[in-house]
């Protein structure tokens, strides 16, 4: 190996360590007995106690399931709507530029400005402390963002394709479903992943709108900061588990995600 290449690899190793170290320490903290959480030794003793008490004592399984339901549900609800809205903005003069930016309006407010009115409305509707309520609010809050991602994507698809389909005898709907959507698959995959991640990590709405039986992972983790101090071992275990679906999802869909975020087009 030449000197230059050696240096380059050394730099890369250093960067990898910076990224990997916190994750390593997270795993380490979660897999030692709780009383050794702050022990300076690298790995004094192996124990799954944190995980066991997290599930048995804190009912983390329930939270985990809630998060999966809410994140999947909201993304399944929001993505088709975002695809239709984004397509309308990209292809037709729907509301002009003004409407494109108007849909972003909710993203420009601090989330708490939306959370409190939502709480009032939900109380009237009886949607507080319900997973349905969270699914709806996440879908609504993520819709503008997903719309913009998909809009960019649809704009990158040549209009010729739909025109070819339409002159071939397809209706506008058929052209959209049979030609545009399949071509936009990488973009849709990107939108699904990002929507899932946003919903998975969301804290504020979940905190205000959920109750004991509907708390999601972020809310459950926050609850581990008790009056008796932070139960850091359980937090570490919870965070380690919270990362898993994101790793799986991004790994599974990585090739789409990269193409989806960088190209935005076909051809």
């Amino acid at each position: 190996m030449s000197r230059a290449s050696l240096l380059r690899h050394a730099a890369l190793v250093a960067i990898c360590l910076v990224v990997a170290l916190p994750i390593f320490w997270l795993l380490r903290t979660s897999l030692v007995p709780p009383e050794l959480s702050y022990d300076p030794r690298i790995w004094p003793e192996f124990s799954t106690e944190n995980y066991r008490t997290l599930f048995a004592g804190n009912g983390f399984g329930r939270n985990y399931l809630n998060s999966i339901i809410v994140a999947l549900g909201s993304v399944l609800l929001a993505t088709p709507l975002a695809a239709l809205t984004g397509y309308a903005f990209a292809r037709f003069r729907t509301g002009g530029k003004a409407a494109r930016f108007a849909v972003l309006a909710t993203q420009m407010l601090p989330p708490v400005a939306l959370a409190l009115p939502t709480f009032m409305i939900y109380r009237e509707l009886g949607l507080t402390n319900s997973l349905t309520g969270l699914v709806i609010v996440y879908a609504v809050v993520n819709l503008p963002f997903l719309t913009w991602i998909l809009m960019g994507f649809f704009e990158g698809i040549p209009a010729d394709l739909e025109e070819a389909a339409i002159t071939d005898g397809a209706t506008n709907w058929q052209a959209f479903l049979l030609v545009v959507l399949p071509v936009a698959r990488p973009g849709i995959a990107a939108a699904v992943v990002l929507g899932f991640i946003l919903a998975w990590n969301e804290f504020l709405f979940a905190l205000i709108l959920s109750g004991p039986s509907t708390a999601t992972v972020p809310v459950a983790l926050a609850a581990l900061q008790t009056s008796n101090g932070v139960e850091i071992g359980k937090v570490a275990a919870g965070v380690a588990l919270a990362i898993v679906p994101l790793m799986v999802v991004s790994r599974f869909i990585q090739k789409y995600l990269v193409r989806g975020l960088s190209f935005g087009g076909v051809s």
Partner: protein, 368 residues
Amino acid sequence: MADIVMKGVSRDYGHGIYGVRDADLEIRDGEFMCFLGPSGCGKSTTLRMIAGLEDITSGSLSIGGRDMTHTRPRDRNIAVVFQTYALYPHMSVRDNIGFGMKMRGVGRRERDARIVAAADKLGLTKYLDRKPAALSGGQRQRVALGRAMVREPDVFLMDEPLSNLDATLRAEMRLELVRLHREHGKTTVFVTHDQVEAMTMGDRICILRDGHIMQVGRPLEVYDNPVNIFVARFLSSPPMNILPATLAEGRINTEIASFDLAAAQKQAYAAARNRPLTLGVRAEDFYAEPGIGRVAVRGRLQVIEALGAENILFLDIEGQQIAARVDRRFLPETGADVVLHLDTAAIHLFDAETETAFARPDPESLRA
């Protein structure tokens, strides 16, 4: 029967901007019509209006005698071949070709039979299960053609379909398109900015500029009798030479030469007397040798393009830039003084202000 009749058709984009304005055009059943013009002249817009992909804001359009002004594209029974081919990237060649039939509810068995027949005709049989990305430009072009053909539409609309191909392939496809047209005999509208394509392929050509139709006619008719300077220059390469000129006492006077008109020309150009004129001479109407009715012009050779079959000379004659197409054996040195002979029977005269042509007598009758 699938003639196309446009009456006063306009595409108004608002704010006084028109894609096409007041276009009147009749395309006959089975005709191969070429729309020719520079980019932005409205040729593609006109084609798209016939296809129904662009709204007609005023005027009327009928295809095969039925009013189609506001009919949806799918109900017009037309097929469009796009410049980009617009193949569906996620479908195999087979599915691309079969898509239109599927949309129109053609049964699976018949669909397959027609796909195979079209693929056979276009030499695509081996590629039926490939995706478009795995095809060369020429093969993609053929798939696009196949997709249009299998539908058996009343009208073919082609929007610069050859412009993404290299020169050899383009010449090949030109012949093939003409052959296919002769076979199916369907009305075809072909948009191009290439005058060679228009001249060689069209039964008739329609020349557009700034959203207006300038002239419609058979290629050679238009070439011989362009209605204005724009058409005259656009239809040939190098473009027709134009020079300021006057006509007095039966004599044309220009910077490069003065000569007497023949009797038939004097009569034809009676209206042109004592007005500012523009003289038009095509590059091929200069000759290396003198002859009857030819007048000598002398100039300095600036550039010579030896094309093999012929030479294009670019001369400076009395401050005027002149292009001449001469025999391949005439090969003067760059910078040399050159004498050429202008065929006075072949000239064109235009009004210098309106740029419109004065009808000219047939050059052949003058030579007789």
